[in-house]
């Protein structure tokens, strides 16, 4: 015999198996792909929960791009602080950031307005009209808190997080939200007059006071700090991008100059020795090429040529001549002792 439990829901929704609180919930993009596979429930577009804060998303993206460009600059430029290209022959890679990385914040002109700007027109939001929100389940809420916590941690400066720390911080955030709402309820019940189930700003202020947190205007300062951080990161990105662009142009210019020198030919190589010789293409080898060869060899042009032709041996220095005299005298002394032929005159 089938039992009928008292308090059972008429639509039978309590019979459906619930997900565990810590189960992961897929995002909409992945849900669309899994839609082709059989699912125990249908997904409708009306139940979408946006998990994107444009301010945080853009700040995090800008921070990553700044780090990427800084790594490129450190790799391809000198470390001495002058920021010259380390290797002129090596072409510096160019970086292209896809347009999809630009957040809606810049397109909707929100970031370009000054901080103190307030829209003069009234909207349902500014009037405080009630809004209906999507009903969520506990696993979805925890998943959303997980993503929110990761985004905020990234913005503060963390690049990685341990699984245990993530669980802890999500649990902490969950308990903090429960604490806030219970403090709000206490603030409402403290008031003597009849108030509907809608909280007011005064109740929020008492709520912050009740849990020992900073007053409501500190939230305004926090919001201002977020905006300033975003602008600081964008400014830093622009500065680094300018420096990267300058180095890139310098690098491309140096590579082009190296390519203009062209291949060396045999006749051009031999013509280095004569300052008045002509190269295969008809131009005179002078100036720069000769100076380079002289600098490398540490000799004058004439001296280098004389060495090859053996003339320098006859035009030796005084020290060399004195050495020759001593050698000659030694030779004469040696030959006289042995009774050999002694050549006369200098060698």
């Amino acid at each position: 015999m089938k039992r009928n439990h008292w308090g059972k829901l008429a639509d039978g929704s309590d019979d459906r198996k619930e997900l565990d609180a810590n189960d992961l919930v897929l995002t909409m993009s992945k849900m669309d792909k899994f839609q082709q596979i059989k699912l125990p429930y249908t997904i409708t577009k009306e139940k979408r929960v946006p998990l994107k804060n444009p301010l945080v998303t853009q700040t995090v993206e800008v921070m990553k791009q700044t780090e990427m460009i800084q790594t490129l600059i450190d790799t391809y430029s000198t470390k001495s602080g002058c920021n010259y290209i380390l290797n002129p022959c090596q072409l510096m890679p160019t970086v292209h950031f896809p347009a999809s990385n630009v957040v809606d914040l810049t397109r909707m002109e929100k970031i370009t307005r000054p901080f103190w700007f307030v829209l003069p027109d009234e909207t349902p939001f500014t009037r405080g009209d009630r809004r209906n929100y999507v009903k969520l389940s506990k696993p979805v809420v925890l998943q959303a808190l997980r993503k929110a916590a990761c985004g905020l941690l990234c913005m503060e400066g963390f690049s990685e997080i341990n699984e245990s720390a993530l669980i802890m911080i999500v649990d902490g955030l969950d308990q903090y939200l429960r604490l806030l709402t219970s403090a709000l309820r206490s603030a409402r019940s403290e008031q003597d007059e009849e108030i509907g189930p809608v909280p007011t700003l005064a109740m929020v202020q008492r709520m912050c006071h009740g849990i020992g947190r900073a007053p409501v205007y500190q939230l305004h300062n926090y919001y201002k700090k977020l905006m300033n951080k975003n602008r600081d990161e964008v400014r830093e990105f622009k500065d680094i991008y300018q420096e990267y662009d300058r180095l890139l142009q310098e690098n491309q210019l140096s590579v082009q100059n190296m390519q203009k020198l062209g291949d060396l030919k045999e006749e051009d190589y031999m013509s280095f020795l004569d300052p008045q010789s002509h190269s295969s293409n008809g131009t005179t080898m002078d100036g720069t090429a000769m100076n380079i060869i002289n600098f490398i060899n540490g000799e004058t042009v004439n001296g280098f040529k004389d060495i090859l032709e053996g003339e320098l041996l006859e035009n030796s220095s005084t020290q060399d001549s004195s050495d020759q005299m001593q050698n000659q005298q030694f030779y004469q002394a040696d030959s006289s002792s042995q009774g050999g032929f002694a050549p006369s005159g200098p060698m």
Binding site: Q70, V118, L136, V198, V204
Partner: protein, 139 residues
């Protein structure tokens, strides 16, 4: 609840004078209106879930956003404190190599990647009154 919580701004003044005359209430009033353009990291639907669990229904969207920002600020404060603990711990650790220069230290601190662990999160949460007893199997 249709008015601006009873706070009204003055009229017929120059911008500089208006900025000087703005009291804390006016600043808060403008902040409440600016919240329309700001989408908190914690979605409104999530905050509404917690408000519903406490017995509130159909709340003022401005109040919902305020509570979302309060929770977001909590996470940011905890993360900031944990980052300070992490930096202090890594800077006080003995560095390898022989006599690293000041530039290398500055550069390495800038390029260093920080990982949030229970070791840094625990003292940060303790400062906010949340005592964490770390389980032995947690890293």
């Amino acid at each position: 609840m249709g008015d601006n919580f009873g706070i009204h701004r003055g009229q017929g003044k120059k911008v500089s004078e208006m900025v000087e005359d703005r009291t804390q209430g006016q600043v808060l009033s403008d902040f409440m209106m600016q919240l329309e353009d700001y989408t908190p990291t914690i979605p409104d639907a999530v905050t509404s879930f917690y408000l519903n669990s406490a017995g509130f229904e159909g709340a003022d969207p401005r109040i919902v956003r305020l509570i979302s920002i309060a929770a977001q600020k909590f996470v940011s404060d905890v993360a900031n404190d944990a980052l300070q603990h992490c930096k202090t711990r890594t800077n006080s650790a003995p560095s390898s190599g022989h006599g690293s220069s000041k530039n290398q230290n500055q550069k390495s601190s800038k390029d260093r990647k920080y990982t949030l662990t229970m070791e840094d999160l625990q003292p940060a949460l303790n400062d906010y009154g949340i005592t964490v007893r770390k389980a032995h199997y947690f890293v």
